[in-house]
């Protein structure tokens, strides 16, 4: 059920985007920047339409999403496992925390050269970049979530006869789930950055490839159009996939009030 207020907010946001396009069009019409560098919204739209019409755009979006699906799944498994270890062992945590915090400050694109050295142009190099871009954030979020579990839950589980080997599955992971989902969301974003960066240089398909191809043939409408598509898919998955799951979990765990 949507209230009037929510409808109003959606309307305001739509208005905001219309305004952006209007300003964009106005800047174009003023002719301050040469047309080949700064295309109009219509030119970008036309180019995107051309790319979409023969299935080329979809093919490349699919290529990027498939790489993300594989790379991110592996990264999530690794990040969760390391996070669980960090969250349950003081020594592992103190050793790995500074390392991962350090790695997190590294721009994701900085993994691309080393992946070229190791893997050449193969797709494994892209997985490598996705994994190394996203694992640190997920491991840190998971371990922080575990370390902040209310001790009451652990004691309650113990007194209810839960054995130590059942604790991760029965209590630790579910109790830390809100933090873990936030970490997955963050990891997805970093992985997405890394994936597109890697595709810029070492791929013959994907959104990153379309960007760099557009640059090579001086096709500004394509470059800008693909940037918009990249933003849209990033936003879509962040908000509507992870965002909705995250919010539902936070409400159920009693961390947020249902509105």
């Amino acid at each position: 059920m949507k209230s009037n207020q929510a409808k109003r907010a959606v309307f305001d946001v739509l208005l905001f985007y219309v305004l952006i396009f209007a300003v964009w069009q106005a800047l174009f019409s003023a002719g301050l920047i040469p047309e080949y560098l700064f295309p109009s919204p219509a030119q970008v739209g036309k180019r995107l339409w051309e790319l979409a019409a023969d299935g080329y755009l979809l093919h490349n979006v699919k290529a990027t999403l498939e790489r993300m699906a594989v790379g991110f799944s592996i990264a999530a498994a690794i990040g969760l496992a390391i996070g669980l270890l960090m969250g349950t062992s003081r020594i592992v945590n103190s050793c790995l925390k500074s390392l991962f915090l350090g790695l997190q400050t590294l721009p994701t694109a900085a993994w691309v050269p080393i992946s070229l050295l190791i893997f050449g142009l193969s797709v494994h190099g892209i997985y490598f970049v996705i994994i190394l871009s996203s694992v640190p954030a997920m491991a840190i979020a998971t371990s922080t979530g575990i370390l902040h579990i209310p001790p009451l839950y652990l004691r309650a589980a113990q007194t209810l006869g839960t054995r130590w080997y059942a604790m991760p599955a029965c209590v630790i992971l579910p109790a830390a789930l809100p933090a873990i989902i936030t970490g997955l969301k963050l990891g997805w974003t970093f992985g997405w950055h890394g994936c597109v960066s890697a595709e810029l240089i070492k791929s013959i398909s994907g959104l990153g490839f379309l960007l760099s191809m557009g640059r090579e043939v001086n096709d500004a409408p394509q470059v800008i159009g693909i940037m918009v598509v990249t933003i849209l898919f990033g936003l879509l998955l962040d908000r509507f996939l992870f965002g909705i799951i995250e919010q539902r979990i936070r409400i159920r765990w009693g961390l947020e009030q249902n509105e």
């Binding site: 309650a156 579910p174 789930l177 159920r252 009693g254």
Partner: protein
């Protein structure tokens, strides 16, 4: 709720034995003698209340019985077996409900049953037992509800059902229901006594409220301030169910309180 029929006649046997138990907390720069050494025996089906000022070590003793901590000396024995670690035979009900928000009401109640050998691989049986306890707590309509959808009193009743479902040999209660308003508490005292009478469950509870002690306890153990030792044991010979506002309960409460007041320069319970 099988196997909880009242004991047949004959003298009640010793359920829990506490022998020469003490607890000393040691940190880098200080040593605190929190408890004992003390001896205590809890009989089958008895409701024993530990009563004393804050910091007298009564909660520490409860934690030792639950197995969350090990005593510095002495031994705690449940039905002949020494206590070494937490377990569902000495189930603890906490001050805060401690329900798991990721599970609904009935799954919270079956949580402990999953760890019991006799319920392993028998989900239907687990649900049956959980439902019967929820029914006793008048919560049968809420089995699918989520924890955050319940009121404070309902949460405590679910926690009580969860604690009783695995049929613990001893139920430990750390300050029953402190965060609730007076009306809800009075109702929970009633529920708890109904369970006492119906299941003859052995209960050990901690409180700093003398009325609560007199209302719930068969025997009230009054503790001295730190290090906590047993100052006096008072038998409460009143029929159940008892009303917390009954003048006879108040009389016992005065007597229990009087035991504390003899102690010089120590903080009184609030």
């Amino acid at each position: 709720m099988e196997g909880q029929a009242p004991q047949p006649n004959g003298p009640p046997t010793t359920k829990l034995g506490i022998t020469n138990v003490s607890k000393i907390f040691q940190s880098a720069n200080q040593t605190v003698e929190a408890l004992g050494p003390l001896d205590l025996e809890v009989k089958e089906g008895e409701c024993v209340i530990f009563f004393g000022p804050s910091g007298c070590g009564k909660s520490t003793l409860l934690n030792l019985i639950a197995g969350f901590e090990a005593p510095s000396s002495g031994e705690i024995v449940l039905e002949g077996k020494p206590v070494t670690k937490p377990g569902s035979d000495r189930l603890m009900l906490f001050q805060e409900h401690g329900l798991f928000p990721w599970l609904n009401v009935i799954r919270n109640v079956t949580f402990g049953l999953r760890n019991e050998r006799r319920f392993r691989f028998r989900p239907r049986k687990r649900r049956e037992v959980a439902r019967s306890w929820l029914k006793l707590m008048h919560l049968e309509e809420f089995e699918k509800a989520l924890v955050h959808e319940l009121s404070g009193g309902m949460k405590q009743r679910v926690a009580l059902a969860r604690a009783l479902a695995p049929d613990p040999k001893v139920l430990l209660i750390d300050e029953p229901f402190p965060a609730l308003d007076a009306l809800v508490r009075a109702k929970l005292y009633g529920d708890l006594q109904e369970i006492l009478v119906r299941t003859r469950k052995t209960i050990i509870s901690v409180t700093h409220d003398p009325r609560e002690a007199a209302c719930l306890g068969d025997r009230v153990v009054v503790f001295t301030p730190r290090p906590g030792k047993i100052k006096k044991e008072i038998q409460v010979d009143l029929p159940r169910p008892r009303d917390i506002n009954d003048p006879k309960v108040a009389e016992y409460a005065t007597q229990i309180m009087g035991e504390l007041e003899g102690q010089p320069d120590e903080k009184q319970p609030s």
